[in-house]
Subunit: 243 residues, 2 copies
């Protein structure tokens, strides 16, 4: 872990505070990754008990967001940081918001897992769940790698991470079409399929939020807002200052 | 407009900067409100041209977000504000993020308006559009009132605004059920109905984001994070310090 950027303060206490915040963000990230995994597992296996656990655990995610947000605001007020430190704190406030949203999306997948388990009981034929699982792995991987880049404070690979969102979108469109066909073939599938549709949509949005984490990281490291940048503009920002 | 809180600075230039930022947030809010109105109008009237305009105008919303965000960061870095000013700037950064998301949601409604116009041409029977329009009015009103409270820096009515989200959720559930029945009755309706479903979902989320604006405002005025507070906890925070 490259602590260079954080370790340059005269005040050891300030270093400790920033390091503590970074660690809490990573803890929150780990929790959210697990939430995605469990929610999708609950959904594909019709496991209502696991889904309940995801819903309960979302409180922990929410509490961590409030705690980290408060700490960032305290440091901003007391230390009045400038330059990189200021950007770091603003970035943390934005990143934990993304993580909280991903937590909420996982919770809503868990809720759909419960409603689908009610409809069909366990042991029913789970078509299209293979693709859904694959899509979940994709977006979880994106979120993991973007948090890893945040932890290392390194933007070298972020274009590769955000680029993977195209695969997610392709999978989304493909599953979406499949589900529509499925509903048309047999209207009795509609209620169940709508739940699958929401889940796929939630996963697609998790991929977007992983991209936003990368964008916040670029702002922190490069001081540039790339929120609505094209691929080429993004690359230009990333290449700037490289030899 | 109560400028009391902003007008207390020794530096007239600082006052001017904060006032300028607040005005830009309100401009952005006005633009986003219009985006919601036009997007839903385009959707219910099958007006692809108006939908295109919404999509184009979203760039303006995005540009405003980047501009305001940059100004907030500059002030944070140069003025190193404390207490209320610090909270004001952090709140602005969060509020413009909500507005940007609402802008994106309006854009996605506009895109669905185009795809639905492609499917059915204009002049087709538009059932359930009355309820959709009503729901759109509800959430646009919530957003308008929350921005108005932000402009007046007054939290007296925010519990009334966030309370209206229950009506939105009720409408959502009612339209949702209606649409499912509609699909079951005639599977040929499925593709079109899914677009209506996404639109209703987008409106429901706009209502949520209006509530988040209120929550950010409470943080600014009361210094308390009420993001995951219950109704009772929220009221307690609002009552605190009142005689």
């Amino acid at each position: 872990m490259d602590n260079g950027k954080i370790g340059q303060h005269i005040s050891g206490q300030f270093n400790k505070e920033l390091e503590d915040i970074r660690n809490k963000v990573l803890t929150m990230g780990g929790l959210v990754e697990q939430q995605i995994e469990w929610a999708v597992q609950a959904f594909t296996n019709g496991d209502a008990e696991l889904a309940e656990q995801v819903i309960r655990q979302d409180n922990q995610v929410d509490d961590l967001e409030i705690e980290i947000d408060r700490e960032c605001n305290q440091i901003l007020a007391l230390r009045q940081p400038a330059a990189f430190d200021l950007r770091l704190l603003i970035t943390v406030i934005k990143v934990i918001n993304e993580l909280e949203i991903v937590g909420d999306l996982s919770e809503s997948i868990a809720k759909m897992a419960i409603s689908i388990a009610d409809i069909e009981g366990s042991g029913t034929k789970k078509d299209s769940y293979y693709e859904l699982q694959h899509m979940a792995d994709l977006v979880r991987g994106m979120l993991h790698d973007s948090l890893d880049a945040f932890a290392r404070m390194n933007v070298d690979d972020v274009a590769l991470i955000t680029g993977r969102d195209e695969n997610v979108d392709r999978e989304y469109v493909s599953i979406f079409r499949q589900l529509i066909t499925h509903m048309m073939e047999d209207p009795r599938n509609i209620t169940r399929t709508i739940n699958v549709l929401w889940t796929v949509r939630a996963l697609e949005r998790i991929g977007d939020h992983a991209c936003y984490v990368c964008e916040h990281l670029i702002y922190m490291m490069k001081g540039k807002n790339v929120r609505h940048a094209t691929k080429e503009e993004l690359q230009k920002v990333l290449d700037y200052g490289k030899k």
